[in-house]
């Protein structure tokens, strides 16, 4: 569903992502981990078509995001770490805008919006202007919008920042349910316990290079450790200077 082939991205003279090969299949929950400045957000922006790869290609659902970007973007939803909401729209109006933008029929859109309001418990504030929303309310509205058009690919950047434990629980259940329905989830996070609990595969990126990818057990073997993902992550990123980039095909 998501294919990155020999992808590199340079900002001027600085290389943010180098020779990244990554194939993620439909219905997989892929956790993308790495220290700050490792190249996670740049990779996500290239998958969404916000940035173009300097070399290599990115395909979503078989569509190249540079040459056939609009069709690729019809399949995906992106929830950034600092999501955008129109301050002078209500939550409901925002959901209506998104469903219309993704081409849902009026009847289907109304039904989906009702389901999303129910799922994310938006009743109490969905008709208020979003400028009055707290961080948690904004995050729930953004997730509702992202799922309202039934995306095939959900890309999530740091979803748990500022959320209370109940909302984090809700988010975990939601991501699990989405993958069961066949949605591909690309999750970038610093929250290692969520990655450990939910991810089918984990990729670790450092200094723009994918240093390892696989299930938690594979990573443990590679690190020669039997501990938690935190121990594995720290060991592998410490050693990343000596490790050659890997090619990951699901």
């Amino acid at each position: 569903m998501i294919e990155l082939n020999h992808v590199s991205k340079r900002y001027g003279t600085k290389t943010a992502v180098s020779g990244l090969d990554l194939h993620i299949k439909a219905g997989e929950l892929f956790a993308f981990l790495g220290p700050n400045g490792a190249g996670k957000t740049t990779t996500i922006k290239m998958i969404c078509g916000l940035l173009f790869p300097t070399t290599g290609s990115v395909r979503v659902g078989g569509f190249d995001v540079v040459t056939d970007g609009d069709r690729a973007r019809e399949l995906l939803s992106y929830v950034p770490d600092q999501p955008y909401l129109y301050e002078k729209l209500t939550g409901r109006e925002f959901l209506q805008f998104i469903t219309e933008l993704y081409g849902l029929s009026k009847v289907d859109a109304d039904r989906r919006i009702g389901e999303m309001i129910e799922l994310f418990s938006l009743h109490d504030f969905v008709d208020d202007l979003t400028e009055r929303y707290s961080h948690g309310m904004r995050q729930r509205t953004v997730f509702a919008a992202a799922l309202s058009h039934r995306p095939k690919v959900l890309i999530v950047d740091e979803p748990t920042v500022g959320l209370d434990p109940r909302s984090i629980r809700l988010l975990k259940d939601l991501l699990r349910d989405e993958t069961k329905r066949g949605t591909t989830v690309f999750l970038s996070t610093h929250s290692l316990d969520i990655a450990q609990e939910l991810a089918d595969r984990i990729g670790i990126v450092d200094h723009g290079r994918l240093i390892t990818v696989g299930t938690l057990d594979t990573l443990r073997k590679q690190a020669s450790l039997d501990g938690s993902l935190e121990d594995v992550f720290l060991k592998l990123t410490e050693e990343s200077g000596d490790i050659q980039p890997v090619e990951a095909v699901a």
């Binding site: 991205k9 900002y11 078509g49 916000l50 173009f52 300097t54 973007r73 805008f97 219309e100």
Partner: protein, 562 residues
């Protein structure tokens, strides 16, 4: 669904919600904004009505040519302003705005995003047409008793021209980002300097010719020739003025060609801009995001040391706050550029206006010109304080807790900003007025009085600015231009203009009135002492303008929770 229609619906919803919020919660703000706009509109209408009336009564030779020239110049200037401001707004909204970043991750088509942003940009930037062009054209129609078709044709011409100029600005913005993604600051400054040099050269030549033109047909023709760019048959400003004047003369058939030219070019340029956006918007966004070169290391600068020296009279903690604000200011190229441009133009104007009169400058003109320079510099101070200093407190916004937890009294934050404002305005305005008075050969008494007036303005306006900004902060907003046009910013604009008039009227006007009286009655009575009586009143007004708003502002700041 058609995306164009969807974005239209989105804009209407946002406008409707914002409008009902404004009407529900901020009637006072709305009334103040409307009153200020109406006042400006009425003032311009009165000035234009007076000017056109004078032209009609005095039966000036070449009156028709002069009106044509005036309209050519006006439409050319407004067209350039419109293209420039739309280009800037399009650049900011397409390439740096959070909404654009969000929309680019959706299936929204690049040309539809552009179309939506373009509409917003021309609505924002065409206000100058409504507020500046509208009253002048209507006053012209009223004075010269033109047929009603003229008034009906006005919006048709203006809308077409706004679309054309806006599209040109948008094309420039898209090309600029695509071709100068890395050194856009330098390219922008280079283009700005080139344009400024051209304008200065043109202005200096035009002033010289205007002076020589009185009674000299050759010079007059050469003066008309100065407007070649604006009144060339290929220039849209010519189509505007030609078409409107045809309607004014009751020749609608002849007006149709210029009208068709305006609309066909507007349509073509818009389609070209949308086509460019479809091809190059995403490419430009990528280039801009990826174009950042190596890490730029910022450190201490000699300008910081100059500023530190200038505020050496402050205690070390307040001095640090001033340097912090100064650093923030100088690292924002748009702010430095705007201030440099205005101050540069003011300085050029001050120096060249002296050349315009030649060597034999009569005392009365000397006096009037120096007063005009003082007033214009005062306006520059109001604009600088309103645009750059007023938003400072509000911009502390979400990081206010950092300052709030510092081991210093909160009043000190205010006094720091006050010192920053006073130092910048006094140095800038004092320098310009000193140069102006020296080139005008003003007597020592006038130079001292004007410097005192600048001090009264710098202290009083800074007190009003900082005090009112702390009294009515807007911590929710992060865009300084929106803080400036908010309620507090509008109130400061009104208050600062009132204070400017008052300060000049009490400190400097009595001196110039006595000077004029002596010239008119050919008396050499010398300067009576009462002409300086306004000076202590001005100083007292400045003290009040500092004390009262700063006191209220400090009280608000002390009671603030964060």
């Amino acid at each position: 669904m058609n995306q164009g229609w969807l974005f239209q619906k989105l804009r209407w919803r946002i406008l409707r919600n914002a409008g009902s919020l404004l009407l529900g919660n901020s009637r006072m703000r709305m009334a103040t904004m409307l009153a200020c706009s109406l006042l400006l509109w009425a003032g311009l209408y009165a000035a234009a009505w007076e000017g056109f009336g004078l032209m009609r009564e005095s039966k000036l030779p070449f009156a028709g040519g002069i009106v044509g020239l005036l309209f050519d110049a006006m439409f050319f200037t407004l067209g350039c302003m419109l293209a420039f401001s739309t280009g800037l707004i399009i650049y900011a909204s397409l390439f740096t705005g959070a909404e654009a970043k969000f929309l680019l991750t959706t299936p929204a088509r690049a040309d539809q995003i552009f179309g939506s942003k373009y509409q917003g940009a021309i609505v924002y930037s065409s206000w100058a047409f409504v507020v500046l062009g509208g009253p002048i054209l209507i006053a012209y129609g009223y004075v010269f008793d033109v047929p009603w078709l003229f008034y009906l044709s006005l919006p048709v011409f203006l809308i077409g021209y706004v679309i054309l100029a806006g599209a040109v600005g948008s094309i420039a913005a898209i090309l600029f980002v695509n071709f100068f993604p890395q050194r856009r600051k330098q390219a922008f400054i280079g283009l700005g300097l080139l344009a400024l040099a051209g304008v200065i050269y043109w202005a200096v030549r035009m002033l010289g010719l205007t002076r020589a033109a009185a009674g000299n047909r050759g010079a007059l023709e050469e003066l008309f020739g100065m407007f070649t760019l604006a009144n060339s048959p290929m220039s849209p400003s010519r189509w505007m003025s030609g078409g409107l004047l045809h309607f004014a003369r009751g020749e609608p058939a002849e007006a149709l060609l210029p009208l068709a030219l305006i609309w066909s070019h507007a349509g073509m340029c818009y389609i070209l801009a949308a086509w460019l956006a479809k091809r190059w918007y995403r490419r430009g966004y990528n280039r801009l995001s990826a174009g950042a070169g190596g890490r730029q290391v910022h450190g201490s600068h000699w300008l910081d040391r100059v500023m530190s020296f200038c505020v050496g009279y402050l205690d070390p903690k307040t001095r640090l706050l001033v340097i912090k604000d100064f650093r923030t200011f100088r690292r924002e190229p748009a702010q430095v550029g705007q201030l440099g441009l205005f101050a540069g133009l003011m300085l050029m104007c001050v120096i060249n206006i002296r050349q315009f009169f030649g060597a034999d400058l009569p005392v009365i003109n000397q006096s009037v010109v120096s007063m005009l320079n003082l007033s214009a510099t005062g306006l520059l101070m109001c604009a600088y304080l309103g645009r750059f200093v007023y938003p400072l407190i509000s911009l502390e916004g979400r990081k206010f807790w950092v300052l709030g937890l510092l081991p210093l009294k909160r009043e000190q934050l205010l006094w720091g900003k006050f010192a920053f404002a006073v130092t910048m305005t006094a140095l800038l305005a004092g320098g310009i007025i000193l140069i102006s008075d020296i080139v005008l050969n003003m007597p020592l008494a006038a130079i001292l009085l004007h410097q005192l007036n600048v001090a009264v303005l710098a202290f009083g306006l800074s007190g009003l600015c900082v005090g009112m900004s702390a009294w009515m902060p807007n911590f929710r907003e992060t865009d300084p231009s929106k803080i400036v046009v908010g309620f507090g910013g509008t109130m400061f604009t009104v208050a600062s203009l009132g204070y400017l008039v008052l300060a000049i009227a009490v400190v400097s006007i009595p001196y110039h009135v006595v000077l004029a009286r002596d010239v008119v009655f050919r008396g050499e009575t010398g300067l009576p002492l009462w002409v300086f009586a306004g000076a202590p009143i001005g100083v007292a007004a400045a003290a009040l303008a500092i004390w009262l708003p700063m006191r209220i502002g400090a009280r608000t700041l002390r009671g603030m929770e964060f």
